[in-house]
Symmetry: C2
DNA sequence: CTTAAAATCTCCATATATGAGATTTTGATG
DNA sequence: CATCAAAATCTCATATATGGAGATTTTAAG
């Protein structure tokens, strides 16, 4: 039988615990501490379609994006391939829970429960809580925008941001995923990833990575990232926002696996190279401070 | 009492416009232990237990609150009454979707997907989009905090807020539900509700409503609210935050049903009664402007 | 008041989630 | 690194919820 064969396969894997580590070291990273399952392919190519109804309800929430903030039931049925009653049942449940709300145009959008939960997240996320004082400090010391960004799935997500400039340069406020191929933040995180986890990401973003001068081949990029890792922080000139310098350092867990990044963004015409180095050192210090606090969080 | 005297002073000052005093409360803020009292409308007799698995998964997300930001699987099993495998299955799905994440203490918290969705909500919510320019205007004109708050379920939820003060007085930033029984905001919304919808809410919050001087019996409160409705805006002195004056007006849909509230919060020692009246008129104008725009949103 | 579109409901065969307990994995510790 | 307890996952028979087609009610519009 189908299931039987799968089960057997799993059994074979787990019968010999000694070999598991060998398999892991050459496969994708296993789930680590407080991270989301870093299962290789996510939104990029093709999510494996949800198999059970629980995942199918949640899948409804996944279709909302910056490009498509509002959906009609018809479109949802088409997009997700659910039957009419099913879709409407899902919608009812999601609306009742406040995750969705109706719009006038007979459509649906994300609802107030999301807002409420985000507030709780701000209060709960240790990275936000620990990060904020540091961000205040950084923005007090420099005329800049300082941020903490989470690494989850294959995304980089700003979770906290503080600014001492009039019009903050960053176009990535809390909650907006950042590109993987550009900017000091992305690099600071990539540089910290174990090779097997890293390579597919490099391949996928090679054109961007090449464009910002990290190297022509994947191997070259890898070499550049090794250097970056050694330095402890990354600098990027106008890669994400023209005229802005990004200075970022990774926050890691107790296994040196990256979980976030601390970044200072500052107008390019405001800083000299020497200053950038000084800020870089500060950012690195902050990031590693957060890393340590984080690791010791046995509360 | 201190606040009472301030309130009285205001009352005298604002006698001229006549209506205002009628809808003003003179009740001092009652200190309930800490300065910030979380809105405690939770596990009343209100939520019926979820019947199908879809609702049961979502119910997991419902247990997170300001008082309890982190849960262990064990506690969740106890709280929700799910079996071990079921609970873990739910957790796995929710974690994979990013709604939850593991903490080091073998617990779970709300995850990054929530943050991401909240960002989308900020971009999608017409109240936020339409409201923000008005808030900018209000905070430019006055030294205050201006907010838009949604009315959903039986909650009042701040969705947008702008501030021109150094330390914003409001302890209700985006996403934090507000109490129903206190403050100008709550009153501006309650006043707009149809009687059958309103009465149970009055009953449930009668002690609070009485404390702020809206009347002794439910009928009295109802009468006060009628007046408030007529005036078009509400004023409250230190009911939510000691020393702060709240001035709020309802945003309604095309059937005059309240969907939100616009509020200006300003330090009590900064404004005279006459100014409060002027601000009140402004707030009312903004709220009704948003109402109209909202109703015409056939985009 | 009539009509169209949207949303909900009914029915039922069948796929699917469930829970008790066994099993495996994790991670802390001497 | 062997050991042990706690945490997480798995197995499988069973009961249950699910989703498809189409009927039906509700809502919005003319």
């Amino acid at each position: 039988m189908y299931y039987a064969s799968i089960a057997q396969q799993f059994k074979v894997d787990s019968v010999a615990p000694g070999k598991v580590s060998a398999i892991c070291s050459s496969g994708p990273a296993r789930q680590t501490g407080s991270e989301i399952r870093p299962c290789g392919v996510r939104h990029e190519a093709e999510d494996m379609k949800p198999k059970n109804s629980l995942e199918r309800v949640l899948a409804v929430l996944e279709v909302f994006s910056e490009e498509r903030l509002e959906w009609t039931p018809e479109d949802l049925m088409r997009e997700l391939g659910y039957s009419r009653p099913t879709l409407y049942r899902y919608l009812k449940i999601l609306k009742d829970a406040g995750f969705l709300m109706s719009t006038r145009n007979a459509g649906v959008t994300l609802g107030p429960k999301v807002v409420e939960m985000d507030y709780l997240t701000r209060r709960a996320d240790p990275l936000v809580l620990r990060g904020e004082p540091h961000l205040k400090q950084l923005t007090a010391d420099h005329f800049c925008t300082a941020m903490v960004l989470r690494w989850y799935g294959n995304k980089i997500l700003c979770v906290a941001s503080e600014s001492s400039t009039r019009n903050p340069i960053s176009s990535y406020p809390r909650g907006r995923p950042m590109p993987l191929g550009r900017g000091a933040i992305a690099r600071s995180i990539l540089a910290q990833l174990p090779r097997p986890r890293l390579m597919p990401l490099i391949e996928r973003n090679l054109s961007d990575l090449r464009a910002v001068g990290l190297g022509d081949t994947a191997e070259d990029v890898l070499k550049s990232l090794r250097k970056a890792r050694k330095a402890g922080f990354c600098v990027a000139y106008g890669e994400v926002t023209p005229g802005a310098v990004g200075i970022a350092a990774p926050v890691v867990d107790d296994r040196d696996y990256p979980i976030a990044s601390v970044c200072v963004t500052i107008a390019g015409n405001l800083v000299t190279g020497a200053q950038i180095d000084r800020i870089g050192t500060e950012v690195r210090r902050v990031a590693s401070q957060i890393s340590v606090d984080q690791a010791n969080d046995k509360a």
